[in-house]
Point group: C2
């Protein structure tokens, strides 16, 4: 017969005939305790079904062993793996993670950061913050520790884990140019996205490096979902401008674009080549399989939390930046590059790449 949960440390102490302090010491393996006492106390704890109240503990230790993870939208396939990497790493260190969706709304981004502050979490990982700097920085300053994912702000004293999106997009553009494409458009995602702006920068730079003009009308913002991509792609395809390649903010947008192409009778990749970004599971499974910029999302989450824990442990250096370099994965939605134009670093996997994590759903073989 297991007792209910209202047991306190005082009950245990009374029952064991020792002070609460002694019980506390057994609990936390702190200080010197005689083996007999330890066993005695442990037995009583077991018998009463005592579980320490971490609320009370947090009040005095000033540490909650909780973290916040702020994402725009967990239903966006980019984020679940990040969350998983974050939670695995946190749990291994004894931390729990609050998951907060901002749903791409500034107001809710503010709300959850405030909530996490009141909850006194030991640190926060903020992914793809959409708030402008002047609103974001004050909120971040109030947090105990912060790691930003795919966002840089000045003066926030935050760690940063970011994907080199500009580089990724440059790779994509070079790949398309290498395949003979000359009229590229970009579906650039939410204007408030820092990563989106980086990708636009990479897009521009790569075009200019190749001596090509950048047509601002061919850079279209869109919501980071299927619909957004489909809509934006339709606009591009229906405009007078002939376009033979689409570089997309993420894979969802790219797959939306794929749908728009099919709708409008544009063959992929013959008429229009399409490149996505992130390499979500979906990318390898659609028809045609989507070329994309791959990055290990699990690692992003895991590294971010690891950095956060480091900063919690040693609030020393203000700066810390981890840059993750993405790689292009060429699939059927883009043409083979001309043998001459060597697209360095490009992989064309026989079967989906090996996942970093054991139980991960593998991309598997690509249905063609």
């Amino acid at each position: 017969m297991i007792a209910r949960s209202n047991v306190t440390i005082a009950d245990v102490a009374r029952e064991a005939g020792v002070s609460t302090q002694t019980v506390s010491r057994v609990l936390n393996n702190k200080g010197e305790i005689s083996p007999e006492t330890r066993r005695l106390v442990s037995d009583v704890i077991q018998r009463l079904g005592y579980r320490p109240n971490s609320v009370a503990r947090s009040l005095v230790t000033r540490r909650t062993l909780s973290l916040g993870l702020v994402v725009p939208d967990i239903t966006n396939p980019f984020f679940p793996e990040i969350a998983r990497g974050a939670e695995d790493t946190a749990l291994a260190a004894g931390y729990s993670v609050f998951l907060c969706n901002t749903t791409e709304q500034a107001e809710r981004e503010v709300a959850v950061l405030r909530l996490l502050e009141e909850k006194r979490v030991d640190g926060v990982v903020v992914c793809s913050a959409r708030l402008p700097d002047d609103q974001l920085v004050p909120l971040l300053r109030r947090q105990r520790t912060v790691v930003l994912v795919n966002r840089i702000v000045a003066g926030a004293a935050a760690g940063v884990v970011r994907v080199d999106d500009a580089d990724g997009t440059r790779q994509a553009v070079r790949h398309l140019l290498g395949g003979g494409r000359r009229r590229l458009a970009m579906l650039s995602g939410p204007p408030a996205s820092w990563g989106g702006r980086e990708r636009v920068r990479g897009f521009r730079e790569a075009l200019q490096a190749a001596g090509l003009a950048v047509d601002p009308e061919l850079i279209l913002a869109c919501p980071p979902y299927l619909d957004g991509g489909a809509r934006a792609a339709r606009r591009v395809l229906l405009s007078r401008r002939a376009v033979d390649g689409l570089v997309c903010y993420n894979d969802l947008v790219a797959i939306g674009a794929l749908q728009a192409c099919r709708e409008l009778g544009a063959r992929v990749p013959e008429d229009v080549a399409v490149v996505g970004c992130d390499d979500i599971l979906l990318a390898s499974l659609v028809t045609p399989p989507l070329s994309t910029i791959r990055v290990s999302k699990y690692d992003i989450g895991a590294s971010a939390v690891r950095m956060l824990l480091d900063r919690i442990a040693a609030p020393g250096p203000e700066a810390a930046e981890l840059v993750i370099r993405p790689t292009l994965v060429a699939r059927a939605s883009t043409p083979e590059p001309h043998p001459a134009a060597g697209a360095a670093g490009t992989t064309r996997p026989a079967a989906g790449g090996a996942a970093a994590r054991p139980s991960a759903a593998r991309a598997g073989c690509e249905p063609g």
Copy 2:
């Protein structure tokens, strides 16, 4: 210049020249306060940048305004929408949500439930618990409030939100039989999954109702991922038994099966029809688009939290069960049913069904 966060209610009280109790009353809009005092205190709070410490508050109120959400694996596309529905509902009521992945490991399921207990969350939503009853029940009894998703246990005093999986599978089987199939196999997912067992039950019942024999060799357990589905499907297809229809534990398994079929040269749906379950985004986008049993995952999460909050507010009735009835969505992976055999309730959408939620990534039009 905004102050740092170490401001306590006592600081505010001192600065405003009132008691901490008065400040507390302003904070919580409780009791009678004169307008002047309220404004005075509010100003000081503003000026000092005071945020109440919810750890201290929780200690005395015995409520943390936190919930736990336990899922097998957030990277499984079935769960992000549930999490989103749960978080939206929780946040609207002022609650935060701890996300916990059990990674299909009993040991970790135990660990996170213990952690949540120590954190003194006000309630827990447990999705697809894999622990056997005798281990699960004691852990649940220790939680303040529990809602189980897709799992039933005796004597746990928990609310239940569940999908009528048996019915869903019956629909799937009837649909396949209506399409003229006679040799059906089932890839039934993890043996520890309650939903999986329900689906097997539905499978058996529907076959028996049609006067067909159930071949136990054609019911294969498998991990709930692409790989698992592919592997199990290969086993079935390579066995001597001729099979013309596959009913799958979930869409990932079904898509894995699709890959196996392609590999082995079995045409879908001509040679083998395939039905998935859950209607994840992926399902409508693969080739051929996957017929599946649809259920609103967002609603599952939202309802579960709503039920949890109800039970927290009124710990009255021991029992509460919400059954969500799924519907078959027929796509190209299954043959049209014969006009005679009316498969009631079946939808064959022109374009993906309307999502319940505004910003949701729509299934969109089916390429094919």
